[in-house]
Protein backbone atom coordinates (compact mmCIF):
# COMPACT_ATOMS: atom_id res chain seq x y z
CA UNK A 1 0.00 0.00 0.00
CA UNK A 2 2.83 2.31 1.02
CA UNK A 3 4.72 1.40 -2.19
CA UNK A 4 1.67 2.17 -4.33
CA UNK A 5 1.25 5.56 -2.65
CA UNK A 6 4.89 6.44 -3.23
CA UNK A 7 4.82 5.28 -6.84
CA UNK A 8 1.87 7.57 -7.51
CA UNK A 9 3.71 10.54 -6.01
CA UNK A 10 6.87 9.73 -7.95
CA UNK A 11 4.88 9.56 -11.20
CA UNK A 12 3.18 12.90 -10.50
CA UNK A 13 6.57 14.44 -9.69
CA UNK A 14 8.15 13.02 -12.85
CA UNK A 15 5.23 14.24 -14.98
CA UNK A 16 5.50 17.75 -13.50
CA UNK A 17 9.28 17.82 -13.87
CA UNK A 18 9.18 16.58 -17.46
CA UNK A 19 6.69 19.30 -18.38
CA UNK A 20 8.96 21.91 -16.79
CA UNK A 21 11.98 20.57 -18.66
CA UNK A 22 9.99 20.50 -21.92
CA UNK A 23 9.02 24.13 -21.26
CA UNK A 24 12.64 25.07 -20.61
CA UNK A 25 13.95 23.30 -23.73
CA UNK A 26 11.11 24.75 -25.83
CA UNK A 27 11.77 28.25 -24.48
CA UNK A 28 15.52 27.99 -25.09
CA UNK A 29 15.07 26.85 -28.69
CA UNK A 30 12.57 29.68 -29.19
CA UNK A 31 14.96 32.23 -27.63
CA UNK A 32 17.69 31.14 -30.02
CA UNK A 33 15.43 32.20 -32.85
CA UNK A 34 14.36 35.49 -31.24
CA UNK A 35 16.02 37.50 -33.97
CA UNK A 36 13.67 36.46 -36.74
CA UNK A 37 15.48 38.30 -39.54
CA UNK A 38 17.41 35.24 -40.78
CA UNK A 39 14.27 33.12 -40.83
CA UNK A 40 12.21 35.88 -42.42
CA UNK A 41 14.77 36.41 -45.17
CA UNK A 42 14.25 32.75 -46.09
CA UNK A 43 10.53 33.46 -46.34
CA UNK A 44 11.28 36.39 -48.63
CA UNK A 45 13.37 34.27 -50.96
CA UNK A 46 10.89 31.40 -50.91
CA UNK A 47 7.81 33.55 -51.41
CA UNK A 48 8.87 35.95 -54.15
CA UNK A 49 10.95 34.89 -57.10
CA UNK A 50 11.18 38.32 -58.74
CA UNK A 51 13.05 39.96 -55.87
CA UNK A 52 16.57 41.06 -56.79
CA UNK A 53 17.46 42.61 -53.46
CA UNK A 54 15.82 43.65 -50.22
CA UNK A 55 16.70 45.68 -47.17
CA UNK A 56 15.15 45.73 -43.71
CA UNK A 57 13.45 49.07 -43.08
CA UNK A 58 11.93 48.61 -39.64
CA UNK A 59 11.21 46.09 -36.92
CA UNK A 60 8.14 46.60 -34.78
CA UNK A 61 8.84 44.74 -31.54
CA UNK A 62 5.24 45.02 -30.24
CA UNK A 63 3.80 42.57 -32.77
CA UNK A 64 7.03 41.10 -34.18
CA UNK A 65 6.44 42.94 -37.44
CA UNK A 66 9.14 43.43 -40.08
CA UNK A 67 9.01 45.63 -43.17
CA UNK A 68 11.44 45.27 -46.05
CA UNK A 69 12.07 47.46 -49.10
CA UNK A 70 12.26 45.37 -52.25
CA UNK A 71 14.35 46.24 -55.28
CA UNK A 72 13.98 44.92 -58.81
CA UNK A 73 16.75 43.88 -61.21
CA UNK A 74 17.42 47.53 -62.14
CA UNK A 75 18.07 48.41 -58.47
CA UNK A 76 14.83 50.39 -58.42
CA UNK A 77 12.47 50.32 -55.43
CA UNK A 78 9.73 47.89 -56.50
CA UNK A 79 7.60 47.67 -53.35
CA UNK A 80 7.50 46.50 -49.79
CA UNK A 81 7.19 43.20 -48.00
CA UNK A 82 5.79 42.95 -44.49
CA UNK A 83 6.19 39.90 -42.29
CA UNK A 84 3.94 39.92 -39.24
CA UNK A 85 2.18 37.54 -36.88
CA UNK A 86 -1.43 36.92 -35.85
CA UNK A 87 -3.05 34.72 -33.24
CA UNK A 88 -4.61 31.66 -34.89
CA UNK A 89 -6.42 28.74 -33.25
CA UNK A 90 -3.25 26.82 -32.40
CA UNK A 91 -0.93 29.77 -31.74
CA UNK A 92 0.91 32.42 -33.73
CA UNK A 93 0.89 32.30 -37.51
CA UNK A 94 3.22 34.26 -39.81
CA UNK A 95 1.72 36.47 -42.52
CA UNK A 96 3.92 37.55 -45.46
CA UNK A 97 2.47 40.35 -47.62
CA UNK A 98 3.91 41.79 -50.80
CA UNK A 99 2.87 45.47 -51.27
CA UNK A 100 3.18 47.71 -54.30
CA UNK A 101 4.79 51.13 -53.95
CA UNK A 102 1.39 52.78 -53.41
CA UNK A 103 0.38 50.23 -50.76
CA UNK A 104 -1.67 47.65 -52.65
CA UNK A 105 -1.47 44.00 -51.66
CA UNK A 106 0.13 41.99 -54.50
CA UNK A 107 0.34 38.63 -52.80
CA UNK A 108 -0.13 36.96 -49.43
CA UNK A 109 1.42 33.81 -48.03
CA UNK A 110 1.45 32.07 -44.65
CA UNK A 111 4.75 30.20 -44.35
CA UNK A 112 4.13 29.09 -40.77
CA UNK A 113 1.00 28.25 -38.79
CA UNK A 114 0.05 25.90 -35.94
CA UNK A 115 -3.61 25.43 -36.85
CA UNK A 116 -5.05 22.04 -37.62
CA UNK A 117 -4.55 21.13 -41.29
CA UNK A 118 -8.18 20.10 -41.85
CA UNK A 119 -9.41 23.55 -40.76
CA UNK A 120 -6.56 25.43 -42.41
CA UNK A 121 -7.25 23.78 -45.77
CA UNK A 122 -10.72 25.34 -45.68
CA UNK A 123 -9.09 28.77 -46.00
CA UNK A 124 -7.30 27.64 -49.15
CA UNK A 125 -10.25 25.87 -50.77
CA UNK A 126 -12.57 28.73 -49.74
CA UNK A 127 -10.31 31.29 -51.53
CA UNK A 128 -9.97 33.26 -48.29
CA UNK A 129 -6.53 34.64 -49.13
CA UNK A 130 -7.55 35.80 -52.62
CA UNK A 131 -9.87 38.36 -50.99
CA UNK A 132 -6.84 40.39 -49.88
CA UNK A 133 -5.24 40.65 -53.33
CA UNK A 134 -5.68 44.13 -54.81
CA UNK A 135 -6.76 45.67 -51.49
CA UNK A 136 -5.01 48.83 -50.41
CA UNK A 137 -3.51 49.59 -47.01
CA UNK A 138 -6.16 52.28 -46.40
CA UNK A 139 -9.11 49.96 -47.12
CA UNK A 140 -11.08 48.99 -44.01
CA UNK A 141 -10.21 45.24 -44.31
CA UNK A 142 -12.68 44.37 -41.57
CA UNK A 143 -13.23 40.63 -41.20
CA UNK A 144 -16.90 39.80 -41.58
CA UNK A 145 -17.64 43.04 -43.47
CA UNK A 146 -14.99 43.64 -46.16
CA UNK A 147 -13.41 40.21 -45.96
CA UNK A 148 -15.59 37.10 -45.62
CA UNK A 149 -14.50 34.66 -42.93
CA UNK A 150 -14.69 30.93 -43.69
CA UNK A 151 -17.41 29.32 -41.63
CA UNK A 152 -15.97 26.87 -39.08
CA UNK A 153 -12.44 28.30 -39.42
CA UNK A 154 -13.15 31.81 -38.13
CA UNK A 155 -10.33 31.80 -35.55
CA UNK A 156 -7.76 30.95 -38.23
CA UNK A 157 -9.26 33.68 -40.48
CA UNK A 158 -9.04 36.10 -37.60
CA UNK A 159 -5.35 35.22 -37.07
CA UNK A 160 -4.60 36.04 -40.72
CA UNK A 161 -6.62 39.26 -40.46
CA UNK A 162 -4.61 40.34 -37.39
CA UNK A 163 -1.38 39.71 -39.31
CA UNK A 164 -2.65 41.72 -42.30
CA UNK A 165 -3.66 44.62 -40.03
CA UNK A 166 -0.19 44.63 -38.43
CA UNK A 167 1.37 44.61 -41.92
CA UNK A 168 -0.73 47.48 -43.23
CA UNK A 169 0.14 49.56 -40.15
CA UNK A 170 3.82 49.18 -41.06
CA UNK A 171 3.15 50.13 -44.71
CA UNK A 172 1.04 53.15 -43.65
CA UNK A 173 3.87 54.32 -41.42
CA UNK A 174 6.38 53.83 -44.23
CA UNK A 175 4.20 55.80 -46.67
CA UNK A 176 3.46 58.36 -43.92
CA UNK A 177 -0.26 58.13 -44.66
CA UNK A 178 -3.13 57.40 -42.28
CA UNK A 179 -5.36 54.33 -42.45
CA UNK A 180 -8.72 53.53 -40.82
CA UNK A 181 -7.98 51.91 -37.48
CA UNK A 182 -10.71 49.29 -36.92
CA UNK A 183 -12.73 49.67 -33.78
CA UNK A 184 -11.59 47.23 -31.11
CA UNK A 185 -14.95 46.13 -29.77
CA UNK A 186 -15.56 43.01 -27.71
CA UNK A 187 -18.15 40.98 -29.59
CA UNK A 188 -20.93 39.73 -27.32
CA UNK A 189 -23.62 37.89 -29.24
CA UNK A 190 -26.17 35.12 -29.04
CA UNK A 191 -23.55 32.35 -28.72
CA UNK A 192 -21.97 34.02 -25.67
CA UNK A 193 -25.38 34.64 -24.07
CA UNK A 194 -26.44 31.01 -24.63
CA UNK A 195 -23.16 29.73 -23.19
CA UNK A 196 -23.58 31.81 -20.01
CA UNK A 197 -27.19 30.64 -19.82
CA UNK A 198 -26.14 27.00 -20.20
CA UNK A 199 -23.45 27.23 -17.52
CA UNK A 200 -25.82 28.99 -15.09
CA UNK A 201 -28.51 26.33 -15.69
CA UNK A 202 -26.04 23.51 -14.92
CA UNK A 203 -24.95 25.30 -11.73
CA UNK A 204 -28.59 25.69 -10.67
CA UNK A 205 -29.47 22.08 -11.50
CA UNK A 206 -26.50 20.71 -9.59
CA UNK A 207 -26.53 23.05 -6.61
CA UNK A 208 -30.25 23.07 -5.87
CA UNK A 209 -31.03 19.84 -4.07
CA UNK A 210 -34.68 20.01 -5.20
CA UNK A 211 -33.59 19.75 -8.84
CA UNK A 212 -30.46 17.63 -8.52
CA UNK A 213 -32.57 14.61 -7.49
CA UNK A 214 -34.11 14.36 -10.96
CA UNK A 215 -32.03 12.48 -13.51
CA UNK A 216 -33.91 14.11 -16.35
CA UNK A 217 -32.42 17.57 -15.71
CA UNK A 218 -28.98 16.34 -16.79
CA UNK A 219 -30.38 15.37 -20.16
CA UNK A 220 -31.83 18.86 -20.59
CA UNK A 221 -28.42 20.55 -20.29
CA UNK A 222 -26.66 17.73 -22.11
CA UNK A 223 -28.87 18.12 -25.17
CA UNK A 224 -28.61 21.89 -24.90
CA UNK A 225 -24.81 21.39 -25.11
CA UNK A 226 -25.20 19.06 -28.08
CA UNK A 227 -27.39 21.56 -29.94
CA UNK A 228 -25.53 24.77 -29.14
CA UNK A 229 -21.87 23.86 -28.45
CA UNK A 230 -21.84 20.89 -30.81
CA UNK A 231 -24.12 21.10 -33.81
CA UNK A 232 -24.55 24.88 -34.05
CA UNK A 233 -21.20 26.33 -32.97
CA UNK A 234 -18.92 23.24 -33.25
CA UNK A 235 -16.93 24.64 -30.33
CA UNK A 236 -16.88 22.17 -27.44
CA UNK A 237 -14.27 22.63 -24.71
CA UNK A 238 -11.02 21.13 -26.00
CA UNK A 239 -7.54 20.52 -24.63
CA UNK A 240 -6.36 23.14 -27.15
CA UNK A 241 -8.34 25.79 -25.25
CA UNK A 242 -6.24 25.10 -22.15
CA UNK A 243 -2.99 24.51 -24.05
CA UNK A 244 -2.99 27.99 -25.65
CA UNK A 245 -3.03 29.49 -22.15
CA UNK A 246 -0.24 27.18 -20.96
CA UNK A 247 1.79 28.19 -24.03
CA UNK A 248 1.25 31.85 -23.23
CA UNK A 249 -0.71 32.64 -26.40
CA UNK A 250 -4.36 33.02 -25.34
CA UNK A 251 -6.89 33.86 -28.06
CA UNK A 252 -7.65 37.43 -29.05
CA UNK A 253 -10.22 38.65 -26.49
CA UNK A 254 -12.19 40.97 -28.77
CA UNK A 255 -13.05 38.26 -31.26
CA UNK A 256 -12.99 35.19 -28.99
CA UNK A 257 -15.03 36.19 -25.96
CA UNK A 258 -16.87 32.87 -26.27
CA UNK A 259 -13.68 30.89 -25.58
CA UNK A 260 -12.84 33.12 -22.60
CA UNK A 261 -16.27 32.51 -21.06
CA UNK A 262 -16.03 28.77 -21.75
CA UNK A 263 -12.52 28.18 -20.40
CA UNK A 264 -12.46 30.67 -17.52
CA UNK A 265 -16.11 29.99 -16.64
CA UNK A 266 -15.71 26.21 -16.36
CA UNK A 267 -12.41 26.41 -14.42
CA UNK A 268 -13.60 29.22 -12.14
CA UNK A 269 -16.86 27.43 -11.33
CA UNK A 270 -14.90 24.28 -10.50
CA UNK A 271 -12.61 26.26 -8.19
CA UNK A 272 -15.53 28.02 -6.46
CA UNK A 273 -17.99 25.14 -6.07
CA UNK A 274 -15.63 22.13 -6.23
CA UNK A 275 -17.62 20.53 -9.06
CA UNK A 276 -17.05 19.95 -12.75
CA UNK A 277 -20.05 21.58 -14.40
CA UNK A 278 -18.99 20.77 -17.97
CA UNK A 279 -18.26 17.04 -18.23
CA UNK A 280 -21.38 14.82 -18.36
CA UNK A 281 -23.59 17.94 -18.11
CA UNK A 282 -22.81 20.29 -20.97
CA UNK A 283 -20.32 18.43 -23.15
CA UNK A 284 -21.89 17.68 -26.56
CA UNK A 285 -19.68 14.64 -27.09
CA UNK A 286 -20.94 13.19 -23.83
CA UNK A 287 -24.47 13.57 -25.25
CA UNK A 288 -23.40 11.74 -28.43
CA UNK A 289 -22.04 8.87 -26.33
CA UNK A 290 -25.19 8.73 -24.23
CA UNK A 291 -27.23 8.39 -27.44
CA UNK A 292 -24.86 5.71 -28.80
CA UNK A 293 -25.09 3.74 -25.56
CA UNK A 294 -28.90 3.94 -25.52
CA UNK A 295 -28.96 2.67 -29.11
CA UNK A 296 -26.41 -0.08 -28.46
CA UNK A 297 -27.89 -1.43 -25.21
CA UNK A 298 -24.91 -3.81 -24.87
CA UNK A 299 -23.71 -2.72 -21.43
CA UNK A 300 -20.11 -3.95 -21.45
CA UNK A 301 -17.86 -2.67 -18.69
CA UNK A 302 -14.35 -3.50 -17.54
CA UNK A 303 -13.92 -5.15 -14.14
CA UNK A 304 -13.66 -2.78 -11.17
CA UNK A 305 -9.90 -3.34 -10.99
CA UNK A 306 -9.40 -2.55 -14.69
CA UNK A 307 -11.84 0.34 -14.58
CA UNK A 308 -9.66 2.04 -11.95
CA UNK A 309 -6.48 1.32 -13.92
CA UNK A 310 -7.91 2.52 -17.22
CA UNK A 311 -9.25 5.74 -15.66
CA UNK A 312 -5.63 6.81 -15.10
CA UNK A 313 -4.88 6.48 -18.82
CA UNK A 314 -6.56 9.89 -19.29
CA UNK A 315 -3.78 11.50 -17.25
CA UNK A 316 -1.15 9.80 -19.41
CA UNK A 317 -2.80 11.05 -22.61
CA UNK A 318 -3.06 14.56 -21.13
CA UNK A 319 0.62 14.50 -20.16
CA UNK A 320 1.71 12.98 -23.50
CA UNK A 321 -0.08 15.61 -25.59
CA UNK A 322 1.00 18.52 -23.36
CA UNK A 323 4.63 17.37 -23.15
CA UNK A 324 5.11 17.41 -26.92
CA UNK A 325 3.03 20.57 -27.33
CA UNK A 326 5.29 22.43 -24.89
CA UNK A 327 8.49 20.86 -26.24
CA UNK A 328 7.76 21.54 -29.90
CA UNK A 329 5.85 24.78 -29.27
CA UNK A 330 2.90 23.71 -31.39
CA UNK A 331 -0.63 23.66 -29.99
CA UNK A 332 -1.93 21.77 -33.02
CA UNK A 333 -0.74 18.54 -31.34
CA UNK A 334 -3.64 18.88 -28.90
CA UNK A 335 -6.22 18.97 -31.71
CA UNK A 336 -6.97 15.26 -31.78
CA UNK A 337 -10.25 14.82 -29.94
CA UNK A 338 -13.02 13.21 -32.02
CA UNK A 339 -15.61 15.96 -31.51
CA UNK A 340 -13.67 18.38 -33.72
CA UNK A 341 -14.08 15.95 -36.61
CA UNK A 342 -17.69 15.09 -35.76
CA UNK A 343 -19.12 18.59 -35.40
CA UNK A 344 -17.13 20.26 -38.17
CA UNK A 345 -17.15 17.21 -40.48
CA UNK A 346 -13.51 18.06 -41.21
CA UNK A 347 -10.57 15.88 -40.32
CA UNK A 348 -7.68 13.78 -41.54
CA UNK A 349 -7.96 10.02 -42.12
CA UNK A 350 -6.62 9.14 -38.66
CA UNK A 351 -9.05 11.58 -36.99
CA UNK A 352 -11.97 9.93 -38.80
CA UNK A 353 -10.71 6.51 -37.66
CA UNK A 354 -10.57 7.75 -34.06
CA UNK A 355 -14.08 9.18 -34.34
CA UNK A 356 -15.38 5.88 -35.75
CA UNK A 357 -13.79 3.76 -33.01
CA UNK A 358 -14.82 6.22 -30.32
CA UNK A 359 -18.49 6.26 -31.38
CA UNK A 360 -18.47 2.48 -31.94
CA UNK A 361 -17.09 1.86 -28.45
CA UNK A 362 -19.84 4.15 -27.12
CA UNK A 363 -22.40 1.58 -28.32
CA UNK A 364 -20.84 -1.06 -26.06
CA UNK A 365 -19.41 0.87 -23.09
CA UNK A 366 -21.09 3.72 -21.24
CA UNK A 367 -19.26 7.00 -21.98
CA UNK A 368 -16.10 5.14 -23.03
CA UNK A 369 -14.29 8.26 -24.28
CA UNK A 370 -15.16 10.38 -21.22
CA UNK A 371 -14.22 7.69 -18.71
CA UNK A 372 -10.99 6.42 -20.21
CA UNK A 373 -9.48 8.84 -22.74
CA UNK A 374 -10.74 12.42 -22.49
CA UNK A 375 -7.87 14.83 -21.64
CA UNK A 376 -10.34 17.63 -20.84
CA UNK A 377 -11.90 15.49 -18.09
CA UNK A 378 -8.41 14.69 -16.77
CA UNK A 379 -7.51 18.38 -16.75
CA UNK A 380 -10.70 19.27 -14.89
CA UNK A 381 -10.04 16.48 -12.37
CA UNK A 382 -6.59 17.98 -11.73
CA UNK A 383 -8.21 21.39 -11.17
CA UNK A 384 -10.52 19.83 -8.58
CA UNK A 385 -7.62 17.95 -6.90
CA UNK A 386 -5.58 21.18 -6.72
CA UNK A 387 -8.59 22.93 -5.18
CA UNK A 388 -9.02 20.18 -2.57
CA UNK A 389 -5.30 20.08 -1.71
CA UNK A 390 -5.18 23.87 -1.51
CA UNK A 391 -8.16 23.94 0.83
CA UNK A 392 -6.63 21.18 2.99
CA UNK A 393 -3.38 23.12 3.18
CA UNK A 394 -5.24 26.29 4.11
CA UNK A 395 -7.20 24.46 6.83
CA UNK A 396 -3.97 22.99 8.22
CA UNK A 397 -2.34 26.43 8.36
CA UNK A 398 -5.41 27.95 10.07
CA UNK A 399 -5.58 25.01 12.49
CA UNK A 400 -1.89 25.37 13.37
CA UNK A 401 -2.31 29.11 13.87
CA UNK A 402 -5.28 28.62 16.22
CA UNK A 403 -3.40 25.93 18.12
CA UNK A 404 -0.40 28.24 18.50
CA UNK A 405 -2.62 31.06 19.81
CA UNK A 406 -4.33 28.73 22.32
CA UNK A 407 -0.95 27.42 23.49
CA UNK A 408 0.29 31.01 23.83
CA UNK A 409 -2.67 31.95 26.03
CA UNK A 410 -2.21 28.87 28.23
Amino acid sequence: MLFKFNLKRVLILLAGLSLLIAGLVGHLSESRGEDKSALYENYLEDSFTGIADYSLLKVDPTNLGYIYAVEDNDDMLAGYVTITTGQGYGGLLTVVLNWSLDGEIQSISIPQNSDDKAWWDQLITGDFFDQYIGRKFDDALVLGADINAISGSTISCNGVALGVHAGRALVAEQLAKPYPIPEEKIKFGLSEALLIGGLCTVVLFRMLSVLSRFRLVRYVTLFFGLGVLGIWLARPLSLTNFAVWIMGSPPHLNTNLFLYILVIGVVLLALIFGKNFYCYWLCPYSAVQEIAYKLGQVGLRPSVKWHKRLRNVRYFILWFALFFTILLGSVSITVFEPWGTLFSLKGSFDQWVLLGISVASGFFIYNAWCFYVCPVGAFMDIVLIVRRKGRDLWNTIVHLKVKKEVNGKV
Binding site: K117, L310, I317, F324, L328, Y372, V373
Partner: protein
Protein backbone atom coordinates in the same frame (compact mmCIF):
# COMPACT_ATOMS: atom_id res chain seq x y z
CA UNK B 1 -28.47 -26.21 -11.42
CA UNK B 2 -28.50 -22.94 -9.54
CA UNK B 3 -24.79 -23.26 -8.94
CA UNK B 4 -24.16 -23.85 -12.64
CA UNK B 5 -26.19 -20.85 -13.75
CA UNK B 6 -24.40 -18.53 -11.31
CA UNK B 7 -21.07 -19.92 -12.50
CA UNK B 8 -22.09 -19.27 -16.09
CA UNK B 9 -23.17 -15.72 -15.37
CA UNK B 10 -19.87 -15.13 -13.56
CA UNK B 11 -18.03 -16.50 -16.59
CA UNK B 12 -20.09 -14.29 -18.91
CA UNK B 13 -19.43 -11.18 -16.89
CA UNK B 14 -15.72 -12.04 -16.84
CA UNK B 15 -15.62 -12.31 -20.63
CA UNK B 16 -17.65 -9.14 -20.97
CA UNK B 17 -15.12 -7.39 -18.72
CA UNK B 18 -12.23 -8.62 -20.86
CA UNK B 19 -14.00 -7.54 -24.06
CA UNK B 20 -14.68 -4.08 -22.60
CA UNK B 21 -11.05 -3.74 -21.49
CA UNK B 22 -9.78 -4.71 -24.96
CA UNK B 23 -12.15 -2.22 -26.58
CA UNK B 24 -10.96 0.58 -24.29
CA UNK B 25 -7.32 -0.34 -24.96
CA UNK B 26 -7.96 -0.15 -28.72
CA UNK B 27 -9.55 3.29 -28.24
CA UNK B 28 -6.55 4.44 -26.19
CA UNK B 29 -4.07 3.03 -28.73
CA UNK B 30 -5.81 4.81 -31.64
CA UNK B 31 -5.85 8.09 -29.66
CA UNK B 32 -2.11 7.82 -29.01
CA UNK B 33 -1.55 6.95 -32.69
CA UNK B 34 -3.38 10.14 -33.74
CA UNK B 35 -1.29 12.24 -31.33
CA UNK B 36 1.94 10.62 -32.60
CA UNK B 37 0.97 11.45 -36.20
CA UNK B 38 0.41 15.06 -35.11
CA UNK B 39 3.81 15.13 -33.42
CA UNK B 40 5.46 13.73 -36.57
CA UNK B 41 3.72 16.26 -38.83
CA UNK B 42 4.80 19.14 -36.55
CA UNK B 43 8.39 17.83 -36.30
CA UNK B 44 8.69 17.41 -40.07
CA UNK B 45 7.43 20.95 -40.67
Amino acid sequence: MEYNSSLESEKRSKWQGIAATILVLILVAVSIWVIILKIISVSVL
